[in-house]
Symmetry: C2
Subunit: 362 residues, 2 copies
């Protein structure tokens, strides 16, 4: 722990959205300052940070000045360009590191990596042309999902293809970007494992959580996920194997499909997010240590906090105009409102979330 970051130091955060904001709030509670780097001059995270830099992620001079002014750097989004990460790492430690970024920002690299660890995923094929798409559809059979390899999030950059659909049309819809075709997985539901790995290799997972999406965006997270003990153990073991293979430092979210029900259920990894994650927001009130504090602890070289749940928890996203319900939420006993302070409630925009904890004794 010789080179650990101490209170009073500054955490640099790439990205100034709600995740950067909640990381900055957690850092402040631990006596750390935050410096946010974001091209958007109206970033919500700026309001809670000691310093901020408004510049592009390609602006080398600005990146060097930023990195030089902080003690450790992290990020709130996985699409940090490789060159950006390289510049930062030449000046200060970046956690999670470049390998995690490179893996998570390319769906093909991600699936190949996970499958290479012997962890189940949906069947997949690389697709670089309409001809490859046609071949891949034949090989995987049945319905499938064509996804761009990069820059997809919240259901964007995806096309469902059913038997009989036009291959040319599907390929055109993604604009010819390098893609991956994923076979349909007949999952019963979606869960994620939010976990952390420390700089010393220690590992701590939160209880598995059960996620429901609407229009490709997370709608509801519930804890416990009601997985059979063996299924949850396998899910956590997969997350741990992934963090170890990546030499990972920080909080990670591993989204998984549950195949089957009850005792015999298994999991297949869908996606890795090398950062704090929407499906971990419930930890702010629902776990002994929030994912945001846990991430700060990990990247600073501090011991990981306890991850036990404080009860039965429900986290609901407030998307777009749903944020207008804030007065009713404030009036609901036991509901915890998190409002991200964003100026405009555009449709599909994550504006806040609300968490309810039914404590174990109740």
């Amino acid at each position: 722990m010789l080179d650990r970051v101490a209170p009073g130091a500054t955490v640099g955060i790439l990205g100034g959205g709600q995740l950067g904001r909640m990381l900055a709030l957690a850092a402040a509670n631990l006596g750390l300052k935050s410096h946010i780097f974001c091209p958007d001059p109206h970033s919500p995270a700026f309001d809670v940070s000691a310093r901020h830099s408004v510049a592009d992620y390609e602006d080398e001079a600005a990146l060097r000045a930023f990195a030089g002014a902080v003690d450790v750097v992290t990020y709130e989004f996985e699409n940090v360009p490789a060159r950006t990460a390289e510049i930062i790492e030449s000046v200060r430690p970046l956690h999670p590191g470049a390998k995690a970024l490179a893996t998570a920002q390319d769906r093909l690299a991600e699936k190949t990596f996970v499958a290479g660890l012997g962890i189940p995923t949906a069947p997949f094929r690389a697709v670089r042309s309409e001809a490859e798409l046609a071949r891949a559809l034949e090989e995987l059979g049945g319905p499938a999902i064509l996804k761009t390899r990069r820059f997809g999030y919240d259901g964007k950059g995806q096309v469902r293809i059913r038997p009989g659909d036009s291959v040319a049309e599907a390929w055109a819809q993604l604009g010819g970007a390098p893609a991956i075709l994923e076979g349909f997985v007949p999952f019963s539901r979606e869960v994620s494992i939010v976990a952390a790995r420390g700089r010393d290799g220690s590992f701590a997972a939160y209880d598995a959580c059960w996620n429901e999406h609407r229009d490709g965006i997370l709608h509801l997270t519930r804890v416990p996920a009601h997985l059979a003990a063996a299924t949850e153990q396998a899910a956590v073991a997969a997350a741990q194997r992934i963090t170890e293979a990546l030499g990972y430092v920080g909080v990670i979210a591993v989204e998984m499909f549950v195949l089957g029900e009850g005792e015999g259920a298994t999991v297949a990894v869908n996606e890795i997010a090398p950062r704090v994650h929407n499906s971990g927001h419930w930890t702010s009130e629902g776990a002994q240590t929030s994912q945001f504090e846990q991430h700060i602890r990990a990247i600073c070289g501090w011991p990981l906090g306890a991850t036990g749940s404080t009860g039965r928890v429900e986290m609901r996203n407030l998307i777009g105009s749903e944020i207008e319900a804030w007065p009713e939420i404030l009036g609901t006993p036991g509901a915890h409102l998190h409002h991200y302070g964003k100026a405009k409630a555009r449709p599909g925009r994550k504006m806040g979330h609300v968490t309810t904890v039914h404590r174990k004794s109740e």
Copy 2:
């Protein structure tokens, strides 16, 4: 609720210490911006606020500009000068209001006010001269405490006088400032009621907490306080009566002495703090709504949050060099570190606190 403050608005806070900092953090979580006003250019609260003003509390132009830039104003310390409050109130709502400030910043006004509500206090006398001190000592009898009427905190501005002590010396020690002599109260222990009153007159108290001081500074707060039900009810009723008589809006802390033990115990009010209070820090993890969020809810005209405790709680202050234990605290499962991010750990300075919750089910 027509004139309530909405997320996106700015809360103005007079004072930039740890209380202002924790208020700003709570405000941010609710989608509000903070603007801190403090003469100290190194205020820890500046690091977590969207804007700050560095100016004296007597700087009328700066105060007007500050008030004009925010939607509602509050403060972290009760010694806000009356003229400052008046200037602010001419521009924006100030909560708690001028009456609470005037009452709480003068020990004589405070005791007179509380006693006037029929609530027990220590016996007291106003003291403006050595002669009055001699007379007051005779009237109250036994040991007593001479306190300056204003600007006392954390045991400062106080002299204990035992029978036989030199009256002249005691009087000289306070430098001739207007004072109050308080008779000794044979208390078994000290508790406080942290509570809130909303703009609509609603009232919500946290569980009574049991405070231990060291060298005049709060050392440890424990919840529950193990008061008999009737004693706790009387304590809460006293706090509610005080807030109603003050037309109070916000969180208040009422420090009390417990006289006697068990079922027959009674309480006497020692001091009122018209603000969030160190003895309420345990609420961040130990209650359903933290005192900081509760204060923001109250001053914004929002419904008060639930105040139930989440378990058995212990809050320990980290004074001066005690903050150096932060690595061990981070390594203690279930301990929640709050580090105020102050640069220098001077002796007697509040540097942080640590809260442990033993959940009800454990």
